[in-house]
């Protein structure tokens, strides 16, 4: 029990670090607040190493903490919508046969951006954000693929360490 809590703490800290690194990367998708979703790497690993409820808790804790530390009200709203939609889709995908970690992670990356786009459309009450759908889908695909590859490698190492 104690070690589970400790691992949860380590995962949260790692997710925060990735979230912080992300704020330093000056990539803009034209919609303020929309982020690449690098912290998703930790969430993908959590999805494969922890209970689903713990992965969800990690996702929410991460968003709230990084929002209070480096963000604002809007970034919390964006990240929460993106993070929860992404994790829900990934959890469903993982249960299906025939998808590798990369596939699950790609779906997560894409829906991370879709969730953010929905919030953007609601907040500013305009559909003009749909202009950015193609670029957000492709960005989500590439980020998801990268995260899937990294997560696959890290999960293999973790399994070797038998943690």
């Amino acid at each position: 029990m104690k070690s589970r809590v400790a691992y949860f703490g380590v995962f949260t800290a790692l997710a925060l670090i990735f979230g912080y690194i992300e704020t330093l990367i000056p990539i803009s998708f034209g919609i303020p607040g929309v982020k690449l979703g690098l912290a998703n790497l930790i969430i993908v690993i959590a999805l494969y190493r922890m209970k689903l409820s713990e992965a969800f808790l990690l996702s929410v804790v991460r968003v709230l903490l990084s929002g209070f530390l480096f963000g604002n009200y809007f970034s919390i709203l964006y990240s929460l919508a993106g993070g929860l939609l992404s994790l829900t889709v990934m959890a469903v995908m993982k249960r299906q046969e025939g998808f590798s970690i990369a596939g699950v992670s790609i779906a997560g990356g894409v829906f991370h951006n879709v969730g953010q786009l929905i919030i953007a459309a609601l907040v500013v009450e305009t559909f003009s954000v749909t202009y950015y759908i193609p670029v957000l889908l492709i960005a989500g695909l590439l980020t998801g693929l990268l995260i899937g590859i990294l997560a696959g490698g890290m999960l293999k190492r973790l399994a070797e360490l038998s943690f």
């Binding site: 803009s28 034209g30 919609i31 303020p32 607040g33 604002n72 809007f74 299906q96 025939g98 998808f99 590798s100 990369a102 596939g103 790609i106 779906a107 894409v110 953007a120 907040v123 500013v124 009450e125 305009t126 003009s128 954000v129 749909t130 202009y131 759908i133 193609p134 889908l137 492709i138 989500g140 695909l141 693929l145 590859i149 696959g152 490698g153 293999k156």
Partner: protein
């Protein structure tokens, strides 16, 4: 290294679907209203505050001065804003149809548009 990227059949299918949806969205957008961008619509909190021509170089105070939009060389750029994040100021100038500059804290949306007049012209021509 070989084991680094092991995509299964369904993974590829997913990738192809995503690329197709992105391509379709891009195509639809170009088809429906890609051309004829000639003005910007400024909305504050969902209501239209004004429509300004891109052909005319001008400076526009938005929302009683919280944001300053500059139109020059057929491009609209957010020059100043009092929002804490300054994300709208850092955005690139917009000129293509349906491109937008959004200032979330002030709820300001600047969207490139083709005015109704030009659409009418296109039809009669």
């Amino acid at each position: 290294m070989k084991t680094f990227l092991k995509l299964k059949k369904k993974d590829w299918l997913l990738i192809i679907i995503i690329i197709c949806v992105a391509g379709l969205a891009f195509f639809l957008h170009e088809k429906i209203g890609g051309r004829g961008a000639n003005c910007v619509t400024i909305k504050v909190d969902g209501t239209i505050q004004g429509v300004y021509s891109l052909a005319e170089d001008q400076e526009i105070e938005i929302n009683g001065g919280t944001n300053l939009l500059v139109i020059r060389n057929q491009e609209a750029n957010m020059k100043e804003a009092d929002c804490p994040d300054q994300l709208c100021v850092h955005q690139k100038p917009v000129s293509k149809n349906h491109e937008s500059i959004i200032c979330l804290p002030n709820k300001v949306v600047v969207e490139v548009d083709s005015s109704e007049n030009s659409e009418f012209d296109a039809v009669t021509n």
